[in-house]
Amino acid sequence: MDEAMAHHPAPIRHSPLWTRAFHSLNLLVLLVMAASGLQIYNANPVFGGRGGATVPELLTLGGWLAGGRDWHFGFMGLYALNLGVWIALLIGQRRRKLADTGDLGTLKASQNKAKRRLSAHRLVYTLMLILLAFGLITGMAMYKPAQFWWLSGLFSFGEAFGSTSWQTLRISHLATIPAIALLMLAHVTLSWRIGGLRLLRSMFA
């Protein structure tokens, strides 16, 4: 079947324009939030403070602290809006897109490769949504800690391990970058295995 498709490739079925636009916008917003976040990080590294190692300038956006804050707080509204739209779409969709315990069973026991990939992908999407929401919550707690004192206060659990609630918040917020990067890697790998370049083009071109 693969050979037949290589000889007579079927025309690429492009995703609807708004899906492609939304997908690309999400990617752009995540890149801007991560790069401007790393710019803010460099003003006072979460690990090591003033003596701590900074992130290479190549990965940052804004040029200096105030510039990084301009981008970060300029795009946070889009980030929150995207997350809200995405959650609303998933809830509104008839076909199941979010993971449940059945998917864990499939991953453990099933020999059906396609079924396993679908389950793994559902898991990635679900974790991604949870992480994006976590990034938003920890961000709000640090952006307006007096207004959202009840939110910032939740992070005092770190005091039991000798970390102030503020440091716990900073680490939690920063950790969303590597976590989301890993999930994106899993998403790209899974998509590549399912549809390769054709799927990539159906989403971006």
Partner: protein, 241 residues
């Protein structure tokens, strides 16, 4: 038919170009961020009004919950100064209060000490990202301003410091019951590096709004060209927490 094929080919190329454009666009964001750095202020100016409107909507009216004294860790509080540490003689120190007030004042430290004192254990949040829980004590800025009698036209407060640091505040934040003119820190007289003899302290604003070595307060009807030492270089003016 031939025309149809040509059109199809053109759209095909178009998609390829688009794909290339998308990929190079994504990587240039990472690699050529320098070009975008010039846009930072534009992005900030375009989005700050909406952010501030949402902030105003969600702003709590009551006091901000404070911390316990045993949560204070003195080593968390870093020192920032844009122009060294001025040494002020406590005996010759005067706090000037003027502008749109009915009774311009020149208060010495004894006059400040005669006003009601209070200690507030609050979180001091620096724009750089670090924070420290500090016990500040002193007089309420609102009490000092009430002593001078602010005009109803007074909407802003300009704050002068001995090191030429300059700040402007909205009058509501200045009158907030937890905004202090602090003269002591963690139960001891204010150290010189932390702003002795008088500095601002509040849980509702970022650290760069909290002027040290405060020497003058001026009530104004509107903001003038200078909004603050750091604000004039690109930091947010309201800087609310």
């Amino acid at each position: 038919m031939a025309q149809q094929a040509a059109t199809k080919d053109a759209t095909h190329l178009n998609r390829r170009q688009l794909l290339g454009l998308g990929l190079s666009g994504g990587s240039s964001l990472l690699l050529g961020g320098c070009a975008l750095n010039g846009l930072s202020e534009t992005v900030g100016n375009a989005t700050q009004p909406l952010n501030e409107r949402i902030e105003a909507l969600m702003q709590g009216k009551g006091p901000v919950p404070l911390f316990r004294r045993d949560q204070v860790d003195p080593k968390d509080l870093l020192v920032n100064s844009f122009n060294g540490v001025p040494q002020l003689d406590p005996a010759r120190y005067r706090l000037r209060v003027d502008g749109l007030v009915s009774r311009p004042l020149s208060l010495d430290l004894a006059a400040l000490a005669a006003l009601p004192q209070q200690e507030l254990v609050m979180r001091h949040v620096c724009v750089e990202g670090w924070a420290a829980i500090v016990a500040w004590s002193g007089v309420r800025l609102a009490d000092v301003l009430a002593l001078a009698g602010i005009s109803n036209l007074g909407g802003y407060l300009a704050i002068d410091s001995a090191d030429q640091y300059f700040e402007t505040w909205d009058i509501a934040s200045a009158l907030h019951p937890q905004t202090l003119l602090a003269t002591a820190m963690n139960g001891a007289p204010l150290p010189a590096a932390n702003g002795a003899p008088v500095r601002l302290a509040t849980p509702i604003k970022l650290g760069y709004k909290l002027s040290k070595w405060v020497t003058g307060l001026k009530v104004m009807a509107s903001l003038e060209e200078r909004r603050g030492t750091w604000e004039d270089q690109g930091y947010e003016w309201f800087a609310g927490l």
